[in-house]
């Protein structure tokens, strides 16, 4: 009898497929991505694996990827940035207005616009870390403020980016869109920051338990400020890419990006409570969204099903892969 009990106990202790662990590693999203790619290959291999379609998927990743990677850093600290769409809109608009077709202005304006994005992040970080306002409230306010400023500047299209900038955003070599380089660089830099620096360790520590982190000597305030600076910087980079792709400045270009970015981060296995999540997962989430979007056009799926399918994918991914204690 006792032997039987011991055997059962051992059986229970055998390593099993742990969805939570897979989710936390960020690999879960890639399983969904692989399944989707397999499905699309079986359904329409000749359409899916064309260089044009691969380029479409990669292009669709660029802007969403930039804001999602930034959002991921903020979410890891236990925060949220609802203003990334508005920040991208405003910075993209400013870039087009300030460049206004003068090639000499392109580089300094890009630097200036990135600095504006970083300044937005500093403002967020200070209000959250110093004034102790909730991230949701702060970034919801700036979501409206930044969009409002964009509309104050103009409510119709204006400005003009240079040909070089728009060519960079629109051209591709084979299946590889040149703009994708920006996402690769951003992911590499943020990965370095998160996994190879003290700041990265502090981000996880603050997100896990900010009080414990503080008592262990982690500079919570500066960590939070830096996290929001990275997010603001990447939102500005997304704004520049939006303007470059549009060739002109639009006061509505980045609307709606914030929700897609948060969804990509959550699908990627990051905990909205902070302290847990990976860049690999977030990039997987972005790729998943890009695949879904491009598939609608490729497969000519009924437009009325768009939102339904997107919602089902999010809820399915969350239900299967997001750890219960993260919900």
């Amino acid at each position: 009898m006792s032997t039987a009990v011991a055997t059962t106990a051992r059986a229970r202790q055998r390593p099993r497929l742990d969805f939570s662990r897979v989710a936390r590693s960020g690999l879960a999203t890639w399983i969904v991505v692989a399944a989707l790619v397999l499905g699309l290959t079986v359904h329409d291999a000749s359409g899916f694996w064309t260089t044009g379609n691969i380029a479409n998927v990669l292009t669709a990743m660029v802007v969403l990827g930039l804001v999602s990677v930034g959002q991921n850093v903020v979410v890891l600290t236990g925060g949220i940035d609802l203003s990334v769409g508005s920040a991208a809109t405003l910075t993209g608009l400013l870039a087009a207005i300030m460049i206004d077709g003068y090639p000499e202005r392109a580089i300094p304006v890009v630097i200036a616009v990135l600095a504006i994005g970083a300044l937005i992040g500093v403002g967020h970080g200070l209000l959250i870390a110093r004034v102790k306002l909730p991230p949701f409230v702060v970034t919801l306010a700036t979501f409206f403020i930044l969009q409002g400023v964009a509309f104050m500047i103009t409510s119709s299209p204006t400005g003009q980016v240079t040909k070089n900038l728009s060519n960079f955003a629109l051209e591709k070599t084979g299946f590889f869109p040149h703009a994708f380089i920006v996402l690769i660089v951003a992911v590499a830099l943020v990965a370095f920051l998160l996994y190879r620096t003290a700041l990265g360790r502090n981000v996880y520590a603050v997100g896990g338990d900010s009080e414990a982190a503080r008592s262990n000597g982690v500079p919570v305030t500066s960590t939070l400020v830096w996290a929001y600076v990275v997010c603001g910087l990447l939102a500005a980079a997304a704004g520049i890419m939006l303007a470059a792709r549009a060739t002109i400045g639009s006061p509505t270009a980045g609307q709606g990006l914030e929700l897609s970015a948060i969804a990509a981060v959550v699908i990627g296995g990051s905990s909205l409570m902070g302290g847990r999540g990976t860049l690999v997962g977030t990039v997987g989430g972005v790729l998943l969204f890009a695949l879904i979007e491009t598939s609608f056009t490729l497969l000519q799926i009924e437009a009325t099903l768009n939102d339904l399918i997107r919602g089902l994918v999010i809820i399915a991914a969350a239900a299967i892969f997001v750890s219960k204690d993260d919900r």
Partner: protein
């Protein structure tokens, strides 16, 4: 301490960059007047006459004495460079649509689909869900499937670059129910002129109040060209011709009757003489807000929906409606086919649709049809039934 350093470095970087940016240099060409025809656009009297016709109808229907037509560059595009023999399966034409986000768009897309079926065209469809950012990707995705031509219902100015990329790829693009910057290289624009809509409503408002009084302007969605351009045209006209008209308030209602009612309710106390609006969603909200407040409804403008006419059919309301017909998508498709056949097309097709006032409300009301119907419609009874718009 840390944050001060960050502020300082960022501020300094921003300042230096702005100083560098302000340094001289020469501006790249804006190509404002360029079209994909590569200069093959010649002046045409017939194109000008067709353009003016919609203005003349509006002027007569709204009993205006003189509706000034703003100067617009009109010409006939030589499309021989896109001429293509029709494949056995028919032309493949991409349709970068708004997506069925409201009844206008649903009708717009169904009309396109039906016409494509009639003409033996293979339709390649993409829905933007009303989102310009998404439409940028849609256009790239459609272009990668190498259609013979593309029709785009523009969701915003941010699609300009991607349209330019599509035209550079050799795909003739028709802008439908909206405009895209000429630098994008669109071959033809098929829409009801925004300036016509904006000015027509503005002149009618001015006439109702004898050129002086207090008005409000309510537009659809901030930043969206379909809302911004008619508004701009009206504002310019008021400023130029009617200095005694005071615009007390300018609001947006997202083309939502509920929001329109809330916005209008906030205006009831302002003693307005008239309300300029770009939509019958707004006109409906205005009617309901004033009715609830027990105040007479001021003269109001908008486009033409059955929902509005049904609501006010027994009420004494002064209005002027100028339709923005959803089925103009069929004209867009026909223009795309003309391009592929190498036939000359106008660079701008000003879609004709009868403007009317409250005096003709019985003529246009469709009591047997649903509130979702946009009037007057050219769709057949069968099509209206299949769309569940009419019994």
């Amino acid at each position: 301490m840390f944050s001060r350093r960050v502020w300082f470095v960022l501020g300094l970087g921003l300042l230096s960059a702005l100083v560098l940016a302000a340094c001289g240099g020469s501006k790249e060409g804006t190509e404002e007047t360029a079209t994909a025809s590569g200069g093959g656009c010649k002046p045409s009297k017939s194109v000008e006459t067709a353009y003016d016709k919609a203005w003349e109808q509006g002027e007569q229907a709204l009993e205006l004495t003189k509706l000034e037509i703003p100067k617009t560059e009109l010409c006939e595009v030589d499309t021989s460079k896109w001429q293509k023999e029709e494949p056995s399966g028919g032309y493949k034409i991409a349709f970068a649509a708004q997506g069925p986000t409201n009844s206008w768009a649903a009708e717009n897309e169904e009309a396109f689909k039906t016409k494509a079926g009639e003409l033996g065209v293979e339709e390649l469809y993409a829905s933007a869900d009303g989102d310009a950012t998404k439409q940028v990707d849609n256009i790239q995705q459609l272009a990668s499937q190498e259609p013979d031509a593309m029709v785009v219902v523009p969701m915003g100015s941010s699609i300009t670059g991607q349209v330019k990329a599509a035209t550079a790829q050799g795909i003739p693009v028709v802008a439908c129910a909206g405009t895209i910057a000429p630098s994008s290289g669109v071959v033809s624009t098929v829409t009801r002129s925004y300036e016509l809509q904006g000015r027509l409503w503005a002149e009618w408002i001015a006439k109702q109040i004898d050129g002086k009084g207090r008005i409000a302007m309510i537009s659809g969605i901030a930043g969206v060209p379909t809302a911004e351009y008619p508004k701009k045209a009206a504002e310019e006209l008021f400023a130029e011709k009617y200095p005694e008209i005071e615009i007390v308030s300018k609001q947006y209602d997202d083309w939502s009757p509920t929001k329109a009612k809330t916005v209008a309710a906030s205006l009831v106390s302002k003693n307005l003489d008239a309300i300029w609006s770009d939509s019958s969603f707004t006109a409906l909200g205005v009617y309901e807000a004033y009715k609830e407040a027990g105040r007479p409804v001021p003269p109001v403008t908008g486009d033409a929906s059955n929902a509005y006419l049904k609501a006010i059919q027994n009420a004494d309301v002064k209005f002027a409606l100028s339709p923005f017909p959803p089925e103009m998508s069929t004209q867009c498709l026909e223009t795309a086919i003309s391009i592929l056949k190498g036939e000359p097309v106008p660079n701008f097709v000003n879609v004709e649709a009868p403007a009317f006032t409250d005096k003709e409300k019985e003529k246009y009301l469709r009591p047997e049809c649903s509130e979702n119907l946009w009037i007057p419609t050219k769709l057949s009874d069968e099509e209206l039934k299949s769309l569940k718009l009419c019994e």
